[in-house]
Assembly symmetry: C2
């Protein structure tokens, strides 16, 4: 692991014991793919961060300063994962956000996870995503549902978990969006009620390569191809969900190849299921 440094508007280094991220998950984060000393999806991550800060009423630190720090952080890094954590700041016993809270944020550089050489083993999680439009879409720090779901996956020895909302609609994996290939089209569930509006999902939607649709568990199980996507690992084929198995499908390699033309960092995710 490469060294991580931690920056705050109020201080450099250290998280105060009264930090509201620590006490209430009162913050936002972004997990960025670093490629050849750059962050190719930075504008999209920044847009989501800005939307989240707006939604939660958290002050966004000066963007030019953030960008300077990111560049200093990733200089010379050929491939890695940069985590940006933005908390509302310090202070206040009680839920009321201090009106004058100065945001406290940090950057941490981590190694790139190893590329998947086979399709993923997916399982249906018992833990559901609660329906909460006020927090849906943004990448906030209230992630106990994902922690519990991920614990299920680890205990069962799987790779990732499929999460449904409280009403049984399929939403996403624990740390990736879902791509369902049916009747010649790539579909992805809405994240208006719960779930995270993934940055890579957003790129695929913007290109009209993927369409938003309501997806049931039966739709997933009977799909022609299944994949997960996120901004760190690109598009990853799924090879099993329970007893259902999928073999390599040209729709996945096609989508991966189209993506890799714009984002060559995702070239190495082009594996067959």
């Amino acid at each position: 692991m490469m060294s991580a440094s931690y920056l705050g508007c109020e201080r450099v280094g250290g998280i105060a014991a009264s930090n509201r991220g620590l006490h209430y998950g009162d913050g936002l984060f972004e997990t960025l793919r670093v490629h050849q000393g750059c962050v190719p999806l930075w504008p999209q991550h920044l847009a989501r961060l800005r939307a989240g800060a707006q939604r939660l009423g958290i002050a966004l630190p000066d963007v030019a300063f953030i960008e300077t720090q990111i560049n200093a952080h990733i200089a010379g890094c050929d491939a890695g994962v940069l985590k940006l954590l933005l908390t509302r700041g310090d202070g206040g016993r009680g839920y009321a956000p201090p009106v004058d809270a100065l945001p406290v944020w940090q950057l941490g550089l981590h190694p790139l996870p190893p590329a998947a050489r086979t399709g993923l083993h997916l399982q249906v999680c018992q833990t559901r995503l609660a329906i909460q439009p006020a927090l849906a879409g943004i990448k906030h720090c209230n992630r106990l549902e994902q922690v519990l779901a991920r614990r299920e996956v680890v205990l069962a020895g799987g790779d990732e978990g499929l999460m449904q909302d409280g009403d049984g609609r399929v939403v996403s994996a624990t740390a990736a969006n879902l791509l369902v290939f049916r009747e010649g089209r790539w579909l992805t569930p809405s994240v208006q009620r719960c779930g995270v509006a993934g940055v890579l999902r957003g790129r695929l939607l913007a290109q009209d390569w993927v369409t938003i649709a309501e997806v049931s568990l039966e739709d997933v199980e009977s799909s022609d191809a299944l994949a997960l996507c996120n901004a760190v690992r690109g598009i990853l084929p799924v090879s099993t969900l329970g007893t259902r198995t999928w073999t390599a499908h040209p729709a996945i390699t096609d989508l991966q190849a189209r993506l890799a033309m714009t984002y060559p960092m995702f070239q190495d995710a082009v594996v067959s299921a």
Copy 2:
């Protein structure tokens, strides 16, 4: 504010930048009323903390050690609020909880909020509580719903907010449980779907002074008396909710007086609406 100190099983002082409480709200807390150098409701707080740790799969630090630290912390404190924060610990980029995570926790002593001398002004919050049975009842650190609701209250100049679940059932205030007096009985909503199982609410239920019942907004508005309760401030009368007003009601002073017989620290909450 009295000085606060911070204790961890792995260290004394300081929160690591990789603390999972900070990144995911992956933790639990208790807010305890200190009275004459004691914590009269400690057994109830410990029971809820234990239940939360069990639910989330967080290791509970040695209880005797916690109690020793609490006692050292509150020695000589006549009246105050002790906050105990228990996080899963450090480490791991990604939601999967490290199997060997050592819990990291802290104690902070805060001044007692001033006693309310009049009834509270309550308002209905737009922010709803998402229905999530997996997290309901326990006092975990995913509190963005309460932060957003409390922000509404501050902006509107009220004292506290009334929160409904996603289906419109009334649940609680942002930082207190709800007591609704109707047809000669004290009712409080269930916290099986969302909300926190307040320690003082638990005492009132155990005494059969209060009964669990489904409560609609209309039930609240047409109630004969309305009060909030929590373990820091006791039972607080509500005097307004929107255009509805309540004057002092003997059912509230009766409940306060009964509680104060066992917990004299709540004597000073005996104010009339």
